[in-house]
Assembly symmetry: C2
Homo-oligomer: 388 residues x 2
């Protein structure tokens, strides 16, 4: 286990009706609020009304920024920053999924910075301050509600970049499983895949003796394997929604990654896909991740796949190591498929047209890709070709 | 899963040499520090010197309270409060294990209260403020380094009571696995038992669909089962010390108990034992916990023992439910024994002399005992008799 600092101060209000925590939280923290939302679903399903009722009870004035798209764009972030400055906003409330929260965090850091907020994403500067952000989460997937990360796409170059900083970790997040009921089957399944691949990125590592992190990682994967099919069958299953919602937060709040070398190659590759093609992040990961697994599987990495196969998929221990590893990868892909996710690029109409460009751009954006196995441009092209 | 609020703001500095985090933390937070220690081990093994070097680097004046005993006494808490008031202390640094940290937390809350600090333990009043507490942990067991609980014994009546409040949750804790190297085999084993029983108290519950919490609980138990024997064999094994240290914190920082009904009957019974006999808490739990398990096992509870047996002890699924449950309890007791822990009261020279009194006092102190199975005085006497 490597040294680490563990600090997850976000207050999570978890469960039915927890939106009522908004009133006291806003009263305590906010003078004027920017409420950030996505493409209208929270207005249709009534969640926005619940939120507004609380904001009014707290008697805090607010302004709105709506229309944040999946794979949120820098332009929306600029617009948010402008509103905050003009309206003297001192608190940002994100009501939505990962895209809305990520946009909110970017706005929060941009308001307190004199330069271009893109500098943070480009890695030129680190933010030192941000407006406080609270969230009302409507999708189990992102982890953004409990961590200090944000991912934004710059539309002119189609670069999709991330940065992480403790100053943008939400101060509170409201997680009501019923607020995820109206997410349709496709996006629910994409969320499950996203959670699982978040775990993979931290689980597949050469750091020795990180048993605590790894057993917890397997615990989270088992919850996904159990409840993924249940929720896709019955979108209003409270137990399934609750377990997946909480798993999504714990999968990417630092708990299972700290003290380990992390990988993130599948995400690096997927970001290139969803920057250009605007496919759902979870769908992109369902395609890329099993092919990444197959590509990095070797005598040097097989032990970790064996652990994964036995502990998560209950594969019989008496088979050969390579056999267990291949079976584990096969089951992963089959599981994604069973949830209705695509597992080939063909299914989402992506050809090999931009593979070389994407591989180059991934290396440019991330510097180094992969630590479980370091990937070159050629490696990335091969993984993409295998994903066709 | 029940509704819950998750808020664990303690900053944990985990790993070799993390004592260096003390200097900036104290500089930022402290005007004058009370350093609380136990019965001298940290002065013998050099940890105290490391700490003092940091305190001096931070250039913060300090006073000392040493001599805190296991099962810490109210008298020491009063002494600490007196020192803090007289010396205008504004920060408490606990250097030691659970007893030292618990005493420090009690002092921290007492300083900010005009009445008798025992009021908090008696349940008459809730603390609303406390001095900030930081810890340098030297024993994997307590969980106190990341939670808001404290347990103190009032010597005149030998009542051992607890209270919990967010105001006494440590602001930071330094967890260096090497700082636990000098804990001897007996106390190391007692620590492993303590961690496991903390998990049991939260795991054995009738709350349905708490999969996230339960799979994580099993993860923590598996780490104990793997590394308990290794560390007892080799006290300086870094990997074992690191995994157990981190497991101890996660086992009792709210993560696995929130959203569930918790039990705590084994602790209620053990507290009566260690209040009167001053035996090690972990040793008391090694005796009581398996007998509690046997006593509460019924058709109504067997499913949870089956889950425990299959997932933690890899017992074959094709045996009958009762068979798996009994085997799981048997393996638990055998495991404690294999670590060198007592599993009968006879081994620690405790007779049935005070059983009736202890049972009565437990009910008095805790109000209601057990939620997995609610226990009466008679039940407690029977569990104690079975533990002879």
């Amino acid at each position: 286990m490597l040294n680490f600092t563990h600090h997850i101060p976000t207050i999570v209000y978890f469960g039915k009706g927890q939106v009522s925590a908004l009133e006291p939280e806003l009263k305590k923290r906010a003078g004027k609020v920017l409420i950030v939302t996505g493409q209208g679903s929270v207005k249709k399903n009534g969640i926005f009304n619940h939120v507004i009722r609380q904001v009014k009870k707290a008697d805090v004035p607010y302004v709105e920024l709506s229309g944040i798209k999946p794979n949120p764009r820098l332009k929306s972030v600029y617009r948010g920053i402008e509103i905050c400055k003009k309206e003297s906003v001192d608190f940002i409330l994100a009501v939505g999924g990962g895209s809305v929260i990520d946009a909110s965090k970017a706005i929060a850091s941009g308001v307190k910075y004199d330069g271009d907020v893109w500098d943070f994403f480009a890695g030129d500067v680190k933010p030192t301050d941000a407006l406080p952000v609270g969230t009302v989460l409507t999708l189990a997937a992102t982890g953004s509600e409990m961590n200090g990360n944000t991912v934004i796409t710059k539309e002119d170059t189609m670069r999709k970049l991330a940065f992480g900083s403790p100053v943008i970790r939400p101060v509170f997040s409201i997680l009501d499983p019923e607020y995820t009921y109206t997410v349709n089957k496709y996006h629910t399944a994409a969320g499950v895949v996203d959670i699982m691949v978040h775990v993979f990125e931290q689980y597949f590592s050469h750091t020795p003796a990180s048993d605590v992190q790894d057993r917890i990682a397997e615990a989270l994967l088992k919850v996904c394997v159990k409840y993924g099919p249940i929720v896709c069958e019955k979108l209003h299953d409270y137990d399934a929604r609750a377990n997946l919602l909480w798993t999504g937060s714990l999968a990417l709040n630092d708990l299972i990654g700290q003290g380990k070398q992390e990988d993130w190659a599948s995400h690096a590759i997927e970001h290139e896909l969803s920057a250009i093609y605007d496919i759902s992040h979870g769908a992109g990961l369902a395609i890329v991740s099993p092919n990444w697994m197959r590509y990095v599987l070797s005598r040097n990495t097989v032990h970790k796949f064996v652990e994964y196969g036995i502990k998560v998929w209950n594969i019989e221990k008496d088979r050969s190591e390579m056999d267990i590893a291949n079976e584990a990868i096969h089951r992963t892909e089959k599981f994604f498929k069973s949830l209705g996710m695509p597992t080939t690029l063909k299914e989402v109409n992506i050809s090999d047209e931009h593979f070389e460009k994407m591989a180059k751009s991934a290396i440019e954006d991330w510097g180094e890709i992969g630590s479980f196995k370091k990937l070159t441009e050629k490696d990335i092209v091969q993984i993409l070709n295998a994903s066709l």
